[in-house]
Symmetry: D3
Subunit: 322 residues, 6 copies
């Protein structure tokens, strides 16, 4: 394997053991956004959880994900993709936020991703609660929109405003559709489940043409059929990928704020993401890892493995566009 | 959705966030048994574990189940059943017990359930160790018996007396058969597994006509075939449902006293309970959640989701009988 | 011992074991604020943590405190005070909050405490993060102010605005002084420690006449001398008591968002609160218990014991004013 | 250092690392009671918790104590006592119990200790809940009684019958006084604290002449004065020592069923036990370690260190009587 | 059921409850190797982890496995094999190791297993890290080699020397092939997955004829086809079985040093081992259980259940050779 | 406050919240040793635990310490020292080690510290197990030796070779004395306690003139007297400071491999280190934090606070030498 630029390769475990060193994402070089001109894929933390309706803690997600990510090596054994050899990857640090203000944080996040976009960097983001996908899309899509989305989650996040008028981590994609950032007919949601308040999110999604695949339908169809349909829905237009860790069964990912039992298993999720290779992905996120609810780091370990799969999708896109 | 009586609806999360408030079962109104004349389905805790042979702690089960149950919302997305709109449900509090006496507790529990029965309330009980199903059946069935039972568990609980003559949480259904509370030919047990002392429980079950489905047979037949057979076995006579959380794989439900590896997955259990809709269910329990062995509450979260599925079965029965 | 009104006594452990039952504060009767005309002391949860700058989770505090509080019995063995026999106490439930808005929550909290005050109820509040003391004081003091305060904490909470203009859980008492709710010359802070950003809070406090007792001075003077001075500072005017659990050494109270090592020991804190008996206390709070950072409940157990000591202070005041 | 009999020395850590091997108490030779003719001090587990009124789990205490005890070495650095060189010590295994019957267990335990006594073995017991001290005393004292007792505990365990007539882990010493096993005038209790139901235990104790030292008096007098008084109270008659781990502050010993904040610190407890050297101790126990409430083993580590101090007291007595 | 020799049966739970007693493997009699002339199957701990490249702690594995193993009973309900009735089994204690020296430990371990072999005992070993399989094979195979191996693991452990020339827990089977202990053409590896450094282990394996079954191929083929192929590969020659707990999905076995997500489920692993019955197995190990990364014991509980399945394979071989 | 060089100040919490960002020690700039010409104090991790005799895990110490260290601010409120304003401090990353070889690691560590010394950087090191102090001293003292040492620890680490000839984390200072790196007459050890194998370490220390202060003598003398003596012993010659976290009471620092109950309290340790100001300190370390035994991070939080106190001592020395 020959890397594009050895400077962007992770520190090998044979030089510094994997438990050692200051933990950046996947042991990549930390690069400030201002110095990131050469970076093709940027791994970014968005440590924000002030839009959380239930159990908080995802502000601590990026750090725990970085910690566990140091166990990630170079080659995806299932696909043989070696992402760090296909694209110049770097850890761009954490996006600025204001922990006591959703509005102020939304502006800071959107501004950061505008710069990411301006530099031509493909972002792979780590939340934070799911609200962060909204300002990310604002920065990344902006006036170019709308884009399509493959959305893997236990919840649709198409809920109406919270507490009579507020945004929350349950509303981002309703807002993104309303703001013209997402084309609802090119949005597919997979893994929805759990008890519902009143099915109003489903009504909104169906009214706008979002394809919503409940977990029971997912099990009935199987991974391959579901992903074939997902690829058909988003087609070859620009597509965002958003993966909420609560899509995964709580036995494998307990560290999240709104777990729902009976979820997708990790090996299924790996297979799902691998089938996104070839799409015109403009960025991806992995959100809702909440370390206080899983101090063992097991949830984050699942999370960074899924981030690695997403990275392979992004790196393959860089390869194709080279 | 229109409720039968708004007074019996859970407190909405948009009025009081789900982490707030004194935690009753599913945020239902706490009602003392004496005042429960209008209640159709009663959620009841039975905090007793003095019959436990191995690891104790299920006395703390009802409280942890209540805590986690506040994340349950209104509609079952898989079946579209909205149980609180079908039947007047309430939290009847915890049944009286004496923590240092199995005999005294058995009397108190049976007495409580006699009253529940007398008031025409369908009970959904939360253990406690599995011994409590015996006094519950004594109170609920009494001289009317015997009834059928769908029993999902890792263990048959048909074991001979413990320590040379004592009841335990391994003996309730042998005793219930001996006492004429259960009709063994209308009893089906699903999910049995783990190492056995001497197979004497299986011998007892087979001798009395109990249908015992080991986990290997369960996997070979699949959920649909197993549940079709279960429905055929209990038929349209009165039927009790007893769900021991240790039926579930320990990765999803570690907080229990006698875990057995290689268990039923939660999504399978959800599908199983949904296939009980239509039976003449006279009550149900979810037992053996032991919080000290899972302080995270993940086991209880599985438990209350299964209780919600059981509640849908009971609520649908109320609907049909209206 | 004879109670004023048996209806306001906790449920005895000999009737329902302490691990059983729906957990209200100290097993007291839950009473809605609208029905609380006869209540003299109200125990109130304030499940809000959206002003937290560091580790969140105190929104879950009231529930865990209620859970552990069921182990509290009737008599303070050190002082022989039996608070439930001196005053009619009740659990008034959780104060309304909006988890995604500090401003909206501040209004809701202040409004709730205006009613508490209007009904002549002495409030004993359980946080939530320390920001909640500000709206509590707004409701409780209002235009009558200012009042004095005994403030036991690792931090002064007199910090300047956060992130260039925002309130946080580090600013409530600076704001309360600015708003005329607190008389800084009648405020004493005990237990301050930890690293400081720039000592600007100390400068503010000293400039306004707040007596700030660092932990080193506390250890040099001893509990008795410190509390004698504290009593002298607040004198016989109306006085609020605010106890931040992070005043306690983290070995005894790890479950909090901003722990500082080298803190006050619990037996010292118990002795400190007992020396507040006789003051004109208008209310008290115990804040910053964060269950996700101590799933064992040990921190909450410390917290409810300190709440019990505060309750004795309040109950003795009711007794004196009878 | 020369041992009386090398066969009774613990396995050295330089031969088999301390984390290795089947864990007996302090790495001593396991000896069945029938073969224990040469044993002078027997370490015995009593894994019983069915008399527990609150949080169970102490049935798992002996095993966790054995696990942690393998870190204990040979010499007490404070006193220079090397107990294994003074007396033949062995692990006599766990006393027989019946987990579902207090009565049956009480008989089995008393019978076991009768044999221990008959063989002239000094027992150092590890609970189990505090109820076990009653059958231990029945077996050990029997008709020879009464004996004196140094009792270090947060609770007096002199409470009246539980639930209207039952024994519990709160009643053993009231019963032991009633049965003539303990001479109340030669009983001293140290460390009492926490909230009380109605002070009836104190009334009983005072009426019978038990010296009860509350934690506040303990702090005022200091360890030396308290222990001088304790020695004077029990004098040179036969004396039992009972140490409830909940005497220790919960920060140091959280793993117990009824923790009370503001407790004795471990270094104080060590000093206290060292001052028992020279008394006519007939046996000792360390009870109420509940592993499910401290999976880290930290509580058990405190427990076995206190057991080692107790062992030094017993071994010194063997030395003196040789 | 009639045992060959009652002296080699586990202590029944009806005589001493399962949580009681000094915990030997499966409650079998502890027998020193020197006294093990009559033993047919020896359960042995190898508490060594100094070859671990990532997270340590497996030195504590044997003790935690012993602790949990006391919940194992007598009969395998799936196969009806009762291993303790087929062969004389005993706990041979822990193999000697030197925790600070890989070389010294390798010698001690090899020496121990030479004696095990000399006595004709079939060993069932519990690690320790996977390096221990190398000295076990040296002792067990020695100059008789090479043998075949069924190897279930997330990693091939065929990696090149670590840190430029050192052995580690990632190198044992490369070394075993180089030393002529294993016949690579009779080695099958199942469950391989996770990110790879450079695929050099796969290159080595393929070059030597090792059959390597990645997890994706495992899922595509299914348990039955995979095991049929495995049996064909090892044939009827002497065969070792090595089971690394990290083969199991981390949700079911988090307590290990190098977890890889998307693993084999326990019920699949049970079925896999059952299909080894009939092979000429010369010994087996279960390695890499690391208690510090799963204090709950859930991983060890999985581990001992798999050890029980392996024991059934070994016992059946003893039966056949009788 | 004015910094010497703003580039060496920690990232403020008002710019990036403390839970955000890639965690370097105290949020200082990461600087590679080769680029560290301007650095005056270097914070260095030494992630090595292969010399551990008991419970491993300290290899993970530096990372957890870095994680928690992001909560450290700028000013020591007790002494008003602002270390980052007195000296240019940086995070020099982790020292190279080989996890499977003590010898190889010792060489790498010594080589790294030779360079640190050559650049005139004062090192503040974070272990790792206590063995690392030996190669640190080899690098830092070398042929210039011997130096004095203030050693705060539960253990003397003067033990004879382990397992008949090996170094371990119990032998470093015996070796350092033998190698002429330490002047035993200028070595003071404080806090020694726990059971002893045979007192041979004490014999060695006393024979060489080391002043060994057991915990009982420490308590009898008090912090001030002990530290006055310590300062007198080391005098004004070059002095190393080594702080083993197991000196602290296990209730405050459970996350360590060989805890000993009855230890120094953190507030005492803070006061002790503050009394080292003015000594000719050539470096300091804080060792034996083992994250797997305290996943909460509480131990590491104590550790980094003590590191901050040590940093103040070092920074004050830089100030004086300017």
């Amino acid at each position: 394997m020959e890397a594009i630029d050895p400077d962007y390769l992770p520190i090998p475990g044979n030089v510094l053991p994997r438990f050692a060193g200051i933990p950046s994402f996947m042991r990549l070089k930390p690069v400030a956004l201002d110095d990131a001109g050469a970076v093709e894929i940027g791994l970014i933390g968005v440590p924000f959880d002030t839009a959380t309706s239930n159990r908080p803690g995802t502000r601590h997600g990026p750090r725990q994900l970085r910690d566990l990510s140091t166990m990630i090596r170079l080659v995806n054994q299932a696909t043989r993709i070696a992402p760090f050899h296909l694209a110049r990857c770097a850890d761009l640090g954490d996006c600025p936020v204001n922990p006591v203000s959703m509005e102020s944080s939304a502006e800071r996040i959107a501004g950061f991703y505008e710069q990411v976009k301006a530099k031509g960097i493909l972002p792979l983001s780590a939340g934070g609660d799911h609200f962060v996908s909204l300002p990310i899309l604002r920065g990344l899509v902006g006036l170019d929109g709308p884009v399509g989305m493959v959305h893997i989650d236990a919840h649709s996040d198409l809920y109406p405003p919270y507490f009579g008028g507020f945004d929350s981590h349950g509303t981002p994609f309703r807002r993104a559709i309303e703001e013209g950032l997402l084309d609802p007919k090119r949005v597919v949601q997979i893994g929805l489940r759990g008890t519902s308040i009143d099915m109003s999110d489903v009504a909104f999604g169906e009214a706008h043409g979002v394809r919503m695949i409940m977990i029971e339908e997912f099990r009935a169809l199987g991974v391959d059929a579901v992903m074939a349909e997902a690829r058909a829905i988003v087609g070859d237009g620009p597509t965002y990928v958003s993966f909420d860790i609560d899509a995964i069964d709580p036995s494998q990912a307990p560290g999240t704020g709104t777990p729902e039992v009976g979820g997708i298993f990790v090996h299924e999720a790996q297979a799902m993401i691998r089938q996104l290779i070839g799409l015109e992905v403009i960025g991806a996120d992995l959100v809702e890892v909440s370390p206080p609810f899983d101090a063992t780091g097991n949830t984050a370990w699942v999370g960074v493995n899924l981030m690695f799969e997403l990275l392979c999708v992004l790196a393959d896109k860089v390869r194709r566009s080279r």
